[in-house]
């Protein structure tokens, strides 16, 4: 403990002597100072949930722009955080955990399964928290991951899953039919508290891009509050904000175009920088290894932002046929939401539709990735573009169709 304190003092001195006024450094000092104290997260959590403004985060982009001089301070900063983590771990648990042991929460989801695959490939021992179901996620075990049964909505099932775990990657979210707060807020709070109590050394949380700018959207507000709660918990966290997955576009646009069914699109001018979930998984694990991402918030975006219309046009081009496009005016979405909000039993439905608010606000849902790529040590050229992704998808499907000698009207095997 003495050593830790010493290291801390040193780093503070270095910081002071360099005249650092960087947001990041100050925030670290704060969080470090807050470490030994009992977690005051409960209060913050509640206030945040009620819509009160949460603690302001230093954005990752700002940090990357720290001038050369500041780097000295940065290094010692990192060391300090390590010390802190080590000392907590030593206090919390007797046996050291291997840094290759990770727990993936939400492993059966679009992103979760990609993270499991990527982590297994990089040599991690992956444990997955899955809900007890009659047909439990067998494919995870086939890949070589281990599964433990548990449920975020049942906090008592969590501690057992976290024993012996170094890093928690949380990519869970509620199913569409579930009340939005149950998993995404109550469950996450339980998980974070549990992770804190069991001395988890890294917590990766997936949030939504610009979640702090849309307090009217429940899921985004919850994400923002969770970010704040996490920052306050004293855990060594990494928050990765996402824009949208290309995988989702397959069922939404690519398949209907091919099946010559009606494609529903909006006339919203919003552009979204879709990312390949496989890329996100790759970047996530790169962020895990990097000290630069400790206690950081970063946005992961695709190479280019697209509107719905552009995506449908792309699908038409690669499928070689015209789509029957049904454009849903945004007004409809909003009205539907307003109606569903009226009844208590449809509030969840209303929450699901809440993204229409984002769509109407005419934003570009994207973020510059240059600095993030540099920090991750990833080659930007390796990023999958939406054009390439859709082209590959259609290439595979059309080839499959050819093999089956079937017309594209047959259906069933598109996804």
């Amino acid at each position: 403990m003495a050593a830790t304190m010493h290291a801390c003092r040193c780093s503070l001195q270095t910081g002071a002597s360099l005249g650092l006024t960087s947001q990041r450094t100050t925030r670290h000092q704060e969080s470090f100072a807050a470490l030994p104290k009992p977690v005051k997260s409960e209060a913050v959590g509640r206030s945040a949930f009620l819509g009160a403004p949460a603690a302001k985060h230093g954005q990752f982009r700002n940090d990357m722009a720290v001038p050369q001089q500041a780097r000295v301070g940065k290094v010692s900063d990192a060391r300090k955080v390590q010390c802190a983590a080590a000392s907590t771990a030593a206090v919390m648990s007797g046996t050291p955990v291997r840094n290759t042991s990770i727990l993936v929460v939400g492993a059966t989801g679009t992103l979760g399964r990609q993270i499991v695959r990527r982590a297994l490939d990089e040599g991690y021992d992956v444990r997955c928290l899955v809900r007890p179901r009659p047909v439990s996620a067998e494919f995870l075990r086939e890949w070589g991951a281990t599964t433990v049964q548990g449920d975020l909505t049942k906090p008592e099932s969590l501690p057992a899953a976290l024993v012996g775990i170094h890093t928690v990657i949380d990519c869970a979210t509620g199913r569409p039919e579930e009340p939005i707060r149950k998993v995404d807020w109550d469950g996450k709070v339980a998980l974070i508290q549990c992770a804190k109590a069991l001395g988890i050394q890294r917590y990766v949380f997936f949030s939504i891009h610009n979640c702090d700018k849309h307090p009217e959207v429940p899921l985004m507000e919850i994400k923002r509050c969770t970010e704040a709660y996490l920052a306050d918990s004293g855990l060594d966290y990494t928050v990765l904000r996402l824009c949208g997955f290309m995988q989702g576009l397959i069922s939404q646009y690519a398949v209907p175009v091919l099946e010559e069914k009606a494609v529903w699109g909006t006339d919203a001018p919003t552009r979204i920088a879709y990312t390949d979930a496989q890329d996100v998984a790759k970047w996530t694990l790169a962020a895990l290894r990097s000290e630069k991402f400790e206690k950081q918030v970063a946005t992961l975006a695709g190479p280019r932002a697209f509107t719905t219309q552009e995506i449908i046009a792309l699908c038409e081009r690669f499928a070689g046929q015209d789509a029957k496009v049904t454009t849903v005016p945004l007004g409809i979405l909003r009205v539907t939401r307003a109606i569903t909000r009226l009844f208590q039993w449809t509030t969840d439905a209303a929450d699901r539709l809440a993204f229409s608010e984002v769509l109407t606000s005419d934003t570009v849902f994207s973020a510059p990735m240059t600095e993030t790529f540099k920090a991750l040590g990833v080659d930007p050229l390796e990023t999958t573009t939406l054009e390439k992704y859709l082209q590959e998808y259609y290439g595979q499907i059309l080839k499959k169709l050819k093999d089956l000698k079937a017309g594209s009207r047959q259906g069933d095997f598109y996804i």
């Binding site: 840094n99 290759t100 059966t108 989801g109 679009t110 399964r113 982590a119 490939d121 990089e122 040599g123 991690y124 067998e138 494919f139 075990r141 086939e142 890949w143 070589g144 979210t173 199913r175 569409p176 039919e177 149950k182 939504i208 996402l242 824009c243 997955f245 995988q247 989702g248 397959i250 069922s251 939404q252 009606a262 529903w264 979204i272 496989q278 694990l285 049904t326 849903v328 979405l333 539907t336 939401r337 569903t340 208590q344 039993w345 449809t346 439905a349 699901r352 539709l353 993204f355 229409s356 769509l359 849902f365 080659d379 050229l381 390796e382 999958t384 590959e392 998808y393 595979q396 996804i415």
Partner: protein, 641 residues
């Protein structure tokens, strides 16, 4: 509260269907069925709050009714339907129920209330899903993702070759093996694992789809089952103790056993097809057969026909006979002496291959010899054109006292003169094993040169063709009387026992990947023992005739891989450690890599010195999804090592 209402709605919906199943009439569903066939009834929707009138609902609905029921009668699949949807649906059903109750043109299946209920529910699910999808940013339901997107060709790990390849992993529960198995599965390989016991603790370490075979590489009898159906083998075993017996059994004998079992399996497979396995060696000469001797001749010659050669013609002689030892098979004993400066003697034969076999599909020769510590030269002769003068290609190999297999890759044969074309194995007509003494100090030895030429004296400066003619007239081996006494083996005398000469088949890819070690991570006192066993194992693999890749990683670390640059090197110069995951990755990448075939190399992390003082040259950086670093890295390394 929301949850409560949801819980209530669901049983209610299914209850109404339950009723009809029991035979009671469900007027609601019935009416709906009739109604939905008429486009006009969609008007009723307009009164409803559900804003679907803009969405092409009526048309789609009528379209859906046309196909035979059962085409899409899988309403249960929609596990994700919400309580809300059902509620909505109920409402609409009620609304629609009003106008037309007495429409009559129906088939029985149309009125089936269960399927109607399903269809309507399905439809509203669809509408609802589409609506919500529009408003979603970051999620898609997992059911959307399956064969193509995950594990299919769109997955970044999948390798096209993998679908047809079964890999046997020996040591699958070890540090490297565990990661290796997962990596192979992710890429679509069929994986077999060799485990020593099939108890629960062992099987827990293996993914569920891995087929496990109980066996031990130290015990050859257990291996025949393990190699069944296997295309490639990766061996990353480790002896459980540092006892010499264990080390020999596992590291040395184990590798040999595994390679042999694999070859045997291929051979059996080939025999079933009444052919020869492409992986098995072809015997070119075997001296355990007496008739072999008749095919071999003896020749001599002088390399440079210069004046010195004439001056120091101390004479030379050689003989070839079969050994006769109790309880052993006979060997070809080639011995004699050469005192002529620049002179050589050789045993030679015309290359006779079995019917339909050409050396072109082989990549080298394997000989088993017992030498005397002197180097010998293997000579292949190729005719420039039919009947033209032969061109020589030589490969000098060292021998030691005691039996050893020597691998002679065709690519290492050196042309006799620089203007010769490279060796084309298909054109080889003749092969010889030649002895030529070291040239230095040959004159000194001359003094003691015994000019005893017992039987057939081969004159030094004879034209090779003439020599052949001459030898042809003389009879072979058995008539020779042993020349020199066995103890007198100066540098001009030689004695080489030859067991067999076989051709090693060529191939595209490695068949057998062995994870060996550099010894750097082993305790000082055990290092020599371990290395000796490991090297012997490597050697037996090289000589097996299988396409091999031998990976010698530095000390293994348990940490995630893929993050640091790797250094590939030959010559035991590496200093750094490497993560198990990276070793596994190298093995997986080598499986289908032609440049990895027949190579041994060390691999470790890049040494990170002070910033900007890299010791290594960046060979390649490939911005590609399937970032294959291995090929460019290995392309620079020596083959047949």
């Amino acid at each position: 509260m929301a949850l409560n209402s949801a819980a209530k709605v669901r049983p209610a919906a299914s209850w109404s269907h339950q009723l009809t199943l029991e035979g009671r009439r469900c007027s609601q569903c019935n009416a709906f069925a009739v109604d939905s066939r008429k486009p006009g009834t969609a008007n009723s929707l307009r009164n409803h709050t559900f804003p679907s009138r803009h969405l092409g609902v009526p048309q789609r609905l009528s379209e859906r009714r046309k196909p035979a029921p059962g085409v899409r009668a899988s309403g249960e699949q929609n596990g994700a339907d919400t309580a809300v949807k059902e509620k909505e649906e109920e409402k609409v059903v009620q609304e629609r129920a009003k106008p037309t109750e007495e429409d009559a043109q129906l088939t029985l299946s149309d009125i089936n209330p269960v399927s109607l209920g399903r269809r309507s529910r399905e439809f509203f699910n669809d509408v609802w899903k589409r609506l919500t999808d529009l408003g979603q940013l970051t999620r898609s339901s997992p059911s959307d993702v399956d064969t193509v997107l995950i594990g299919g060709p769109m997955c970044e790990f999948t390798i096209p070759d993998a679908a047809f390849t079964t890999v046997l992993v020996a040591g699958a529960t070890g540090r490297v093996g565990r990661i290796l198995v997962r990596k192979l599965l992710l890429r679509g390989y069929t994986v077999k694992a060799l485990v020593r016991s099939s108890d629960e603790a062992t099987l827990e370490k293996l993914p569920t789809v891995v087929q496990h075979v109980v066996g031990d590489i130290g015990d050859p009898t257990t291996l025949s089952k393990a190699v069944e159906g296997v295309n490639k083998i990766i061996c990353c075993t480790r002896a459980t103790s540092m006892l010499s017996g264990d080390l020999t059994r596992v590291e040395q004998q184990g590798v040999a056993n595994l390679a042999k079992a694999f070859l045997d399996y291929n051979h059996r497979l080939a025999q079933k097809r009444a052919g020869k396995s492409a992986r098995s060696k072809v015997t070119l000469a075997r001296f355990s057969k007496e008739s072999t001797l008749d095919e071999w001749d003896l020749r001599d010659g002088v390399e440079d026909e210069d004046i010195l050669g004439k001056l120091y013609d101390g004479g030379m002689d050689a003989e070839l006979e079969l050994t006769e030892r109790e309880g052993e098979r006979s060997m070809g004993l080639f011995q004699g002496y050469v005192y002529t400066r620049g002179g050589f003697v050789e045993m030679t034969t015309e290359l006779k291959l079995p019917e339909g076999v050409s050396l072109s599909r082989f990549e080298g020769l394997l000989i088993r010899v017992c030498g005397d510590g002197k180097p010998y030269t293997f000579v292949l002769e190729m005719e420039k054109w039919e009947g033209g003068p032969p061109m020589e290609y030589t490969y000098k190999f060292p021998t030691r006292v005691g039996y050893a297999r020597v691998r002679l890759p065709f690519s290492d044969f050196r042309p006799g003169s620089p203007d010769q074309p490279p060796l084309d194995p298909a054109q080889v007509k003749r092969m010889s094993i030649r002895f030529e003494p070291k040239k230095v100090r040959a004159p000194m030895m001359l003094a003691g040169a015994p000019a005893q030429k017992k039987k057939k004296v081969m004159a030094g400066r004879v034209d090779p063709m003439q020599a052949i003619a001459e030898i042809d007239t003389s009879s072979e081996g058995p008539e020779f009387v042993p020349g020199a006494t066995e103890t007198d083996l100066g540098s001009n005398r030689f004695k080489l026992e030859v067991d067999f000469i076989k051709a090693l088949p060529a191939g595209e890819e490695p068949d057998f990947i062995l994870v060996s070690c550099t010894g750097a991570g082993v305790e000082e006192e055990d290092r020599e023992k371990v290395l000796r066993a490991k090297l012997a194992g490597e050697q037996s693999l090289r000589n097996s005739g299988l396409g091999y890749t031998i990976v010698r990683p530095g000390p293994l670390l348990e940490e995630p891989g893929g993050s640091r640059a790797l250094v590939f090197d030959q010559g035991n110069r590496i200093t750094q450690s490497i993560s198990c995951a990276d070793v596994a990755d190298v093995c997986v990448k080598a499986l289908h890599d032609g440049t990895a075939r027949n190579k041994s190399f060390e691999v470790c992390y890049e040494y990170t010195s002070e910033q900007g003082q890299g010791l290594y040259e960046l060979v390649a950086h490939l911005p590609d999804k399937s970032n294959n670093y291995l090929t460019p890295a290995l392309a620079l390394l020596e083959k047949n090592t």
